[in-house]
């Protein structure tokens, strides 16, 4: 199980390193989104500070979904999953390995950029820790639930639109609690705990259902 997980993780990281910066799309989108929002909202500092956390969360949520459409489809098309399954390896490990690679490649850059994005939108420095913490705890849910939508649509040519429709409602709970936790600050541990629970549930159920969906596509 663990060996399968690290095999996939290392392979995807190596392939991403050679892909000519394909993985950076999410981070670039994140920066562009924040910049354009800052321009759109104009110079009234006081208004922007109120919604800075929500906007950063929204940007992270959308940016993390950008390249998710291609998370499983290539492995399905090029026969990797066929061989993986007939070797008797764990498909749940496959899903978790791919999602972890996506988290490292797409979400860690977003985490690093998030404090600067929030400052750009006028958030007070005191709020940054809660924002980053909520992103760290809620990020896995964004990736795993988006990955679930991607797994369900992996056999569809041009399933991008369907992925958006499926992942939209799935992403609402982590977004709601994430923004709530970021705005309430570090005193509101309950919201962070709920966010953590959503991430854990997504790791268990999301990876399991994704694996089932991928196996069905092999028929």
């Amino acid at each position: 199980m663990i060996g399968d997980f690290t095999d996939i993780l290392c392979r995807d990281l190596l392939a991403a390193r050679r892909s000519g910066g394909h993985w950076a799309h999410g981070a670039v989108f994140f920066v562009m989104f924040i910049m354009l929002v800052a321009f759109a909202l104009g110079p009234q500092q006081s208004d922007r500070a109120l919604i800075a956390s929500a906007l950063v969360w929204l940007a992270a949520c959308l940016a993390s979904q950008l390249s998710l459409a291609h998370l499983f489809a290539p492995d399905l098309r090029d026969g990797t999953l066929d061989c993986w399954v007939s070797d008797g390896r764990s498909v749940v490990s496959f899903v978790l390995g791919k999602c972890t690679a996506h988290w490292i490649l797409v979400f860690i850059p977003i985490l690093l950029l998030a404090p600067f994005g929030a400052l750009m939108l006028g958030a007070p420095i005191a709020d940054l820790l809660a924002l980053v913490l909520s992103l760290v705890i809620g990020g896995p849910a964004l990736i795993l639930l988006g990955g679930l939508a991607s797994a369900l649509c992996a056999n569809l040519r041009g399933g991008g639109m369907l992925i958006v429709l499926i992942s939209g409602p799935l992403l609402a709970p982590p977004l709601i609690f994430g923004v709530g936790a970021a705005e309430a600050g570090l005193e509101a541990m309950a919201l962070l705990k709920i966010l953590g629970a959503i991430s854990l549930a997504a790791a268990v159920f999301g990876s399991f259902i994704s694996a089932l969906a991928l196996k069905t596509h092999l028929e």
Partner: protein, 212 residues
């Protein structure tokens, strides 16, 4: 040369339908270690679908598939985990080199030296550090064959193994099949080519689908 685990497989009246269209039906065979089964049929007669059913990918077939590891106790289902699969797609990642692709598929218990061994066997050792996207179609097929050789699967399922290969490549496949059966392995092959493996071989012919 280590003998492989023993694995026999049999199909009883196996059929597959998609909607009201029958892809194939009434497939019966029993395949024992060191034997080869070749599935023939025109394009669209369901060879690949049959291989996927036997390989355990599809659950929606009719009839019965059983396997056993000791010639006595037949177990329902396909021997997943004991199948060396070579489909149409070669399971190659373009960004990785030939060596890295093989390293990814190397079973945990097998030492790394085996990679060089199988590369030599399929004659792609000179391409060791080449990125896979630059390989020709025939070289990609050879790389896929090398992946097949890394595992110790008693049952091989090969879908048009000689696709894109030159005459030398076809001889290579016959040679690999001879070595595989010498180790008590078995193989199910869908092929248009007149492969002449040096092992007891039976044939199944599929006919283009009947409308139900």
């Amino acid at each position: 040369m280590h003998p492989l685990p023993i694995c026999a497989i049999r199909c009883q009246n196996v059929g597959l339908s998609r909607g009201s269209t029958s892809v194939f039906m009434g497939v019966n065979f029993e395949l024992h270690p060191a034997n080869i089964l070749i599935i023939q049929g025109e394009n669209g007669s369901g060879k690949t679908s049959l291989l996927r059913v036997i390989g355990g990918f599809s659950q929606s077939f009719s009839g019965m598939i059983q396997h056993c590891f000791d010639t006595k106790n037949w177990i329902n289902g396909s021997p997943t985990g004991n199948i060396g699969w070579l489909g149409h797609a070669n399971a190659i990642k373009d960004e990785l080199t030939v060596f890295e692709n093989l390293k990814f598929w190397l079973p945990k218990a097998v030492p790394k030296e085996k990679i060089d061994l199988v590369m030599e066997k399929v004659q792609i050792k000179t391409l060791r550090h080449q990125r896979s996207y630059s390989l020709s179609a025939g070289e990609r097929r050879r790389l896929a064959l090398a992946r097949l050789l890394l595992g110790r699967h008693p049952l091989w399922i090969l879908d048009e193994p000689s696709a894109n290969l030159d005459i030398e490549g076809r001889k290579l496949i016959e040679q690999l099949l001879a070595e595989h059966t010498a180790r008590r392995g078995s193989a199910i092959i869908a092929s248009h080519d007149r492969l002449r493996p040096d092992a007891p071989t039976s044939y199944i012919k599929l006919h283009t689908g009947h409308r139900a």
